[in-house]
């Protein structure tokens, strides 16, 4: 047991330190989980099996999952710089916290502690869980009831802050397609530009099967800038030939900017 304590204690402290010193929040979360699990073991050592399990379920299972979940929202990969940005924070912080630790350890280190154990406490009950239940539903009944208020608040709070309600009912797939077609222009995809270019270029409109140019195929920004390169209309025959597969593109065709 002693060995188990030392191992768990070491791991717990390691986890805690890891939490503080990891660059990535995700790592911190995992370190916390490590500490939690070790604490669960320690609870078991301290003859608190129920708590041990609850610790794993609630903390490691639920709470830490929640943390991870939020971390995913925030961005798992984001890593913090560990350099301090507030002037005069880090050194006093470390000093202060160390002093806190020193004071705590100094004052608590030499307290005399008995080790009575739970035999007496369990006399009226059938073990740990019953004993807990006995207290929860009698002595701490009010606190128990009050925690329900806490849980409702939590649920409400989460909803209020993060649940996105919409001002209108969201549109279904069907509504969307109806809308699309109702507008009447190009329900489908637009032709790609540069189809008949001599060299592949987005600024040259596609030609429709009848040889006319489909200026709509050129991206709007280019059109707006007037950067469309129109195809030489004189080569219409050539196009048709091409269509028929009778001609190849020769080099004498010249690029022309729209007149």
């Amino acid at each position: 047991m002693v060995i188990a304590f030392w191992i768990c204690a070491a791991l717990a402290v390691f986890g805690a330190l890891g939490m503080v010193f990891s660059k990535k929040a995700v790592h911190s979360a995992l370190f916390v989980a490590l500490t939690m699990i070790n604490l669960a073991v320690l609870y078991a050592i301290l003859e608190a099996p129920f708590l041990s399990m609850v610790q794993i379920i609630v903390y490691t299972g639920a709470v830490m999952m929640l943390f991870l979940f939020v971390l995913m929202v925030v961005g798992v990969d984001s890593s913090d710089s560990l350099t301090e940005s507030i002037k005069g924070q880090r050194v006093p912080a470390l000093l202060g916290a160390s002093a806190l630790g020193v004071i705590l350890i100094g004052l608590l280190g030499n307290i005399t502690m008995t080790n009575i154990g739970f035999d007496q406490a369990y006399v009226a009950y059938d073990g740990n869980i019953d004993a807990l239940a006995g207290l929860i539903f009698t002595k701490y009944l009010f606190a128990f009831e009050a925690t329900s208020a806490l849980l409702i608040t939590a649920a409400l709070g989460a909803m209020v802050l993060t649940h996105r309600e919409h001002a209108e009912k969201p549109l279904t797939q069907r509504d969307l397609s109806v809308l699309r077609f109702k507008s009447g222009n190009h329900p489908g995809s637009l032709p790609s530009p540069g189809v008949y270019a001599r060299h592949n270029a987005v600024d040259i409109p596609a030609l429709l099967p009848d040889g006319t140019m489909a200026e709509i195929s050129v991206p709007k920004p280019l059109a707006a800038r007037g950067a469309i390169r129109l195809i030489d209309l004189a080569s219409k025959d050539e196009v048709q030939a091409l269509n028929r597969g009778e001609a190849v593109i020769t080099s004498q065709s010249t690029d022309r900017v729209e007149e």
Binding site: L108, I111, D130, G134, T138, Y140, F142, A149, L161, A167
Partner: protein, 517 residues
């Protein structure tokens, strides 16, 4: 697990009369959640308001019932103590909550709606938010949260064990953290305030919890009475008890806004929607001081000597920090926040003094301060420009000319805060200082007086701005509020004067306000 054994767990006797105020409020909160879920959106807001006001009124009647029938004692295996102090504080909290509810229900002064974001989850400035606003939606969940918080406040000062105390603290605080972050305007600030309040609140409650653990280790119980017994039984001062006691105090001092645990106060008071600030400044202060008084008087009186140096230091620092930094403020809400810190310092005198007179004084002080503070913030919410509240002091210049009534009422509140006679603030201050002096705290009283003088400076400055300075060019106006805010301001102003002129009825009420030990 045998069924026989479960039957062995005898259900604790519950005196429902004693619990009635709490149960009514929490029940109302649950009802409010149900309303939220099932009531049509259009009439939800009015339903919520009606529900909340009804709940609070009924709860107040329940408190009166306790008072009138003198149903006093511990209940649910000593986890709650219903005594004279409890009744007074609960009544006070419910009344503050009523006034607070009136303020929260205000939706006339802002053309866009009430003080809360139409949908807190919508991004500030997003199309969603605009859509919500245009539709005139309200975030009606605030009412449930509000009632939960009131419930927590009702439990907090009557909790007779550290666990209940801790839970009550959280029940009270969690909804507030949320409410603070839900302002309609200046949402970045509001959210920031929520985050700060939350992080620091959690931090402080960790201290308090750890302290509870240590005290539990010492006394083998978390009941306040047991702790006191253990303290008197143990010959030597135990480090456990000392550290534990200090840590618990820290948690409570944080809530009351005592230095050096005060720094959340100005930021949160400024960032929160003003109606919530008003409610917090009154309700939280009352509840937290109630708890502080109870813990200190009932459980830790044996430590009083060991803690006296600490508490003296804290009281002095709190008074000076509150008043001195208050001098440099240019935002009216921050200024009032610092004023609240200073008042916490004054009230600490009542805590330290540990006597019946000090208790009476502190409770009276709380009553006076609660209403004055509510009223002051209510007035703050009325002074607006195009972008919302005009909180910068410069914008208050010349207010006396534009709206003499409101400026006069605000002056009344400021004078009460400054402790000028014929206002509640003076009687409270007098009672507390007298009690403290009586217990040999004359030096603290002198510091308090110096602090009051410094504080007078910044209260007076506002009066000067309002009445003696010509308005700047800003388009600041005092909005004509709805009945609710008007009623709230009227009530608080009247109470402020009445408590100042004829305080005796309240002292009569307090005559049997004692802690059950």
């Amino acid at each position: 697990m045998s069924s026989a054994l479960i039957a062995d767990i005898t259900a604790p006797s519950v005196n429902y009369y004693m619990l009635a105020p709490i149960l009514i409020v929490l029940g109302g909160a649950v009802l409010s959640v149900l309303v939220e879920a099932f009531y049509p959106r259009e009439s939800r807001r009015s339903a919520q308001i009606a529900l909340v006001l009804t709940t609070l009124v009924v709860a107040f009647l329940a408190v009166l019932n306790i008072k009138v029938d003198a149903i006093l004692g511990f209940t649910i295996v000593n986890s709650l103590a219903i005594d004279g102090v409890s009744v007074f504080l609960q009544g006070l909290i419910i009344l503050s909550a009523l006034v607070g509810a009136l303020l929260i229900s205000e939706n006339r002064i802002d053309p866009l709606g009430d003080a809360f974001a139409a949908q807190s989850s919508a991004l500030p400035g997003s199309e969603d938010e605009l859509a919500f606003t245009e539709r005139g939606w309200y975030q009606t969940e605030i009412w449930s949260l509000f009632l939960f918080s009131v419930g927590g406040m009702l439990i907090f000062p009557i909790a007779n064990d550290l666990l209940t105390l801790f839970v009550a603290l959280e029940v009270m605080s969690l909804p507030l953290y949320l409410l603070v972050g839900m302002a309609r305007r200046r949402r970045l600030l509001s959210q920031e305030a929520a985050l700060k309040y939350f992080v620091l609140g959690a931090f402080s409650s960790a201290f308090m919890l750890y302290g509870s653990a240590l005290v539990y280790g010492f006394a083998n119980s978390v009941e306040l009475g047991d702790i006191a017994k253990a303290l008197s039984a143990s010959a030597a001062n135990s480090n456990l008890m000392l550290v534990g006691g200090i840590f618990i105090l820290i948690g409570l001092l944080f809530k009351v806004g005592a230095a050096p645990f005060h720094q959340w106060t100005p930021d949160v008071y400024q960032g929160a929607p003003t109606a919530i600030t008003a409610f917090m400044s009154a309700g939280t202060k009352v509840a937290a001081f109630g708890a502080l008084l109870r813990v200190f008087y009932v459980a830790l009186s044996g430590l009083a000597w060991d803690l006296s140096a600490v508490l003296w230091a804290i009281a002095i620092i709190t008074m000076l920090v509150g008043t001195i930094i208050g001098v440099a403020q240019s935002d009216i809400k921050r200024m009032l926040a610092y004023s609240s810190i200073a008042h916490a310092g004054f009230l600490l005198l009542g805590v330290i003094a540990q006597s019946k007179a000090a208790l009476d004084g502190s409770l009276f002080y709380l009553a006076g301060y609660a209403f004055t503070s509510l009223g002051a913030f209510a007035v703050v919410s009325l002074v607006r420009d195009a972008s919302g509240e005009a909180n910068h002091l410069g914008q208050w210049a010349g207010l006396g000319k534009r709206s003499p009534v409101i400026a006069s009422v605000f002056t009344l509140f400021l004078l009460a805060l400054a402790g000028i006679p014929l206002t509640s603030g003076f009687v409270g201050k007098f009672a507390v200082f007298a009690a403290a002096y009586e217990k040999g705290l004359a030096p603290l009283v002198v510091v308090a007086v110096i602090a009051s003088a410094i504080a007078g400076f910044f209260y007076v400055r506002v009066i000067v701005l309002m009445f003696f300075t010509d308005a700047s060019g800003d388009e600041v106006s005092v909005v004509v509020p709805s009945f609710a805010t008007a009623a709230a301001i009227t009530i608080t102003a009247v109470v402020t004067i009445v408590l100042g002129v004829i305080p005796q009825p309240v002292f009569d009420l307090l005559s049997n306000a004692l802690f059950l030990k």
